[in-house]
């Protein structure tokens, strides 16, 4: 469903993504991990057609990113980490606008939006009466997730989707994406919350400085690197153990 070959992105002299190559079949949830600045968001933005790669190729849902960007965009849903929305629209105006961009007629969009409302415990009045600027962070995130799934895309990219969601909504969301994957959707899940990734994802890809470090099942990868958990594997691969020692040293400087 997703095929990435030697995908590279440079910003001036800086290489954000360096010859990344991987494949994701349909129905799989892939955790896309890496420390800050590793190139995760840049990769996701390239795979959703928001950024042009400097070199390399990628196909999503059978369409080449460079040749058919619009067809790719029709088949992907994306929850960006920024959680950006048009704040001066009401929630309903925003979702109807998104539905219309995918060619979903209003009469089909309305019941679909109501399904999401019911799922996320949002009232229809909230969606119609309040502008998005007045929503809490969690409510905005729910609207952004709805906007990503509204057109029933076969491929969904999540960049820190749980940011702002309360514990109950997070539990529901995790169940949702697992069910969606069982229904055949391909999900790429980027997050720093590693225990969630470990529980939800069939496979993880860890990148650092734009390069792919490891790619495989979380338990197998951990075992092959002598780690007890995904978190331990991650810190070993990305220099986090050193960070732990530095944090302890730094904390000691706070002694009165």
């Amino acid at each position: 469903m997703i095929s990435v070959q030697q995908l590279t992105k440079r910003f001036g002299a800086q290489t954000a993504v360096d010859a990344l190559t991987f494949e994701v079949p349909a129905g799989q949830i892939v955790g896309f991990l890496g420390p800050n600045g590793a190139g995760k968001s840049t990769t996701l933005k390239m795979l959703t057609g928001m950024l042009d790669p400097t070199s390399g190729t990628a196909t999503v849902a059978g369409f080449d990113l460079r040749q058919d960007p619009i067809e790719v965009k029709r088949r992907v849903g994306f929850v960006p980490d920024s959680g950006a929305v048009f704040e001066s629209l009401s929630g309903l105006e925003y979702l109807e606008m998104v539905a219309a961009l995918y060619g979903i007629p209003s009469e089909a969009a309305q019941p679909r939006i109501r399904q999401f409302l019911a799922f996320f415990d949002l009232s229809f009045e909230t969606l119609t009466d309040k502008l998005l600027g007045a929503y809490s962070k969690g409510m905005r995130r729910k609207v952004v997730i709805t906007a990503a799934l509204l057109h029933n895309p076969p491929v969904v990219f999540f960049d820190e989707p749980l940011d702002g969601l309360d514990a109950n909504a997070a539990v529901g969301f995790k169940a949702l994406i697992q069910t969606l994957a069982r229904e055949g959707k391909t999900i790429v899940y980027s997050s720093h919350i590693l225990d969630v990734v470990e529980r939800v994802c069939d496979r993880v890809i860890i990148v650092d400085r734009g390069r792919l470090l490891v790619d495989g099942r979380p338990d197998e990868l951990a075992a092959s690197h002598g780690a007890n958990s995904l978190e331990q594997l991650f810190t070993r691969l990305t220099g986090g153990e050193e960070m732990e020692r530095r944090a302890q040293d730094f904390a000691r400087t706070f002694r009165p």
Partner: protein
């Protein structure tokens, strides 16, 4: 939370089969509606209370349209003049106001960073986005231009060489002028994007927007005065060679050709205007439309990370040198000073709000002095200017209370300071240093040049002495630290009413000072005023220092 089975994928409408590469059939209409709504409501409503949030787009457009129509009444002063003169004037005014309006709006409309996160991954072509945005800009501009030209239509019909052909001719020329104006601004952005890149585009366009806005405001205030003063020497006719260089004359030529005398020179001017509009529209919307796509994509790239270190060092050094070192002994006030100065110099939104808002305050003194030279009010001009300019920091301090990053001001509340007073002091001093002092120096120089009488500078003293009180007033009244209120709240404030009150206060202060000057009591007046202002200042400072943080809404 309900159970996931409600989201059974089979209940979801399947992807609509469509020709490869095609987009949703009504995407253009949806985008136009979206951008019109965003344009009229504003991009952000964060922090606004529900009742204050702008909901009706028509109401806002209606108020603006009415204001433009009122401005357009100035065309009535051209009653009885020939079509070309009427048209040249009203086209010049329209171009100026539209230019200011479009320049101020286009950057945000065309290149919005957050927008790429929302729409960048949707199945919409960048050209469709550009088309929708330009159509919104054009539609709103056309409505405003039409409102501004309502009175001119009647004046054109009644012109000696005018008639009933004038309204359709003027409507056509006005439409062309609007296309030229919008196309010109869009083209400027496209060229800046191509030549300087997105990072530089931001700073270039902010500077350009500020300059265009200030030029338009100053032009709108000064041009009528200059026309009144030199009108008898400036005969505006289509035959003047220099008129070819003035875009408003092109469209006036079109009016004259279609509904006036219809001379050869008018046809030449009209042809030039039509051709220029066509070329600019083609360049902006067709030839360079491809660049817009790359521009939108670079918006999602991280910033280049160029740090304005030199500027920062300059400001820090300034605060470390005497007299600012003494004035900013308190570290909290010093930090607030540096923060406010950084926003005054760097922040796009602050620059676009503050400088054009304060520009008219610098123009009014020049107008007064110009009138004074005609012998109507020699003394009054400098006296009024002093008081009027004393109010400049008051407006500056108030404007600096607003910011798009107002939520970041929570850091003030969490800091171990009991109230906003020390932060307000720093912000106020930054406004005094970077806005009020240069403004006053410019006004004093204008006064000296135009009156050629140094003693008149003394007449400015009563107003200037009131500067500390005026500057403290918003702090005392609102108790608000800098950059801590949402911008939309500032837009909702009755700015026009505030300006009128400012004028009245300036008048009240300058009239008795003038009386004292003329009767030989000026020294005593200054002494008395100093005492009163000193007491007032001390009382306001004490009151402000006792102000505690208000509970956030």
């Amino acid at each position: 939370m309900n159970v996931p089975p409600q989201l059974d994928a089979s209940a979801v409408p399947p992807l609509i089969p469509r020709e490869p590469g095609s987009v949703a059939p009504d995407a253009d209409r949806v985008l136009r509606k979206l951008f019109l709504t965003l344009f009229l409501r504003g991009r952000s409503s964060r922090g606004l209370r529900v009742e204050k949030a702008p909901k009706s787009v028509l109401q806002k457009l209606g108020v603006t349209t009415l204001l433009y129509a009122v401005f357009g009444l100035i065309a009535l002063s051209f009653l009885g003049k020939p079509v070309f003169a009427v048209s040249a004037f009203i086209h010049a005014m329209t171009l100026m106001f539209l230019g200011m309006f479009v320049a101020a709006s286009a950057g945000e409309v065309l290149f919005n960073r957050e927008e790429s996160d929302i729409l960048g991954h949707r199945p919409v072509r960048p050209q469709a986005l550009l088309r929708a945005k330009v159509r919104v800009l054009l539609s709103v501009s056309l409505v405003l231009a039409a409102a501004m030209n309502l009175a001119a239509l009647a004046v054109g019909v009644l012109a000696p060489d005018g008639g009933w052909r004038f309204p359709p001719a003027h409507a056509a020329s006005l439409a062309l002028e609007t296309v030229l104006c919008v196309g010109g601004v869009v083209l400027t952005y496209q060229l800046c994007l191509r030549w300087f890149g997105r990072e530089r585009l931001d700073s270039w366009m902010t500077t350009a927007q500020v300059m265009v806005s200030i030029a338009a405001v100053i032009g709108a205030q000064l041009v009528p005065q200059i026309m009144i003063r030199f009108g008898h020497r400036l005969e505006i006719t289509a035959e003047r060679w220099w008129i070819l260089a003035l875009p408003p004359a092109w469209f006036a030529g079109l009016d004259d050709a279609l509904a006036g005398r219809g001379g050869t020179s008018s046809w030449v001017l009209g042809g030039l205007g039509t051709a220029a509009t066509g070329v600019i529209a083609w360049l902006a919307l067709e030839r360079l439309a491809g660049d817009y796509e790359s521009g939108l994509k670079t918006l999602t790239e991280r910033p280049a990370g160029a740090k304005p270190r030199a500027a920062r060092r300059w400001r820090v050094r300034l605060t470390e040198a005497v007299p600012l070192r003494w004035w900013l002994r308190d570290p909290v006030s010093r930090a607030s000073f540096l923060l406010t100065a950084a926003y005054l110099i760097r922040d796009r939104d602050v620059k676009l709000r503050v400088y054009p808002a304060l520009a008219p305050m610098l123009v009014v003194p020049v107008i007064l002095l110009l009138r004074g030279r005609q012998g109507t009010a020699d003394f009054f001009g400098p006296a009024f200017i002093g008081s009027y300019l004393g109010l400049l920091p008051m407006m500056g301090v108030e404007l600096m209370e607003f910011s798009q990053q107002w939520q970041a001001a929570d850091v003030f509340r969490s800091a171990p300071v009991p109230g906003p007073a020390r932060l307000c002091h720093g912000a106020r001093r930054a406004v005094l240093c970077f806005l009020a002092l240069p403004g006053m120096a410019l006004a004093a120089a204008a006064c000296l040049i135009l009156t050629r009488e140094p003693s008149y500078l003394l007449l400015m003293l009563p107003g200037l002495m009131a500067v500390p009180v005026f500057a403290l007033f918003p702090n005392w009244k609102n108790g608000t630290p800098p950059l801590s209120r949402p911008v939309e709240e500032g837009k909702a404030a009755g700015r026009a009413l505030g300006s009128i009150l400012v004028m009245i206060a300036a008048m009240l202060l300058s009239v008795p000072a003038l009386w004292a000057w003329e009767n030989g009591w000026f020294g005593w007046w200054l002494f008395g005023e100093g005492l009163v202002l000193g007491a007032l200042y001390a009382a306001m400072r004490i009151s402000l220092s006792r102000t505690r943080w208000s509970s956030p809404e």
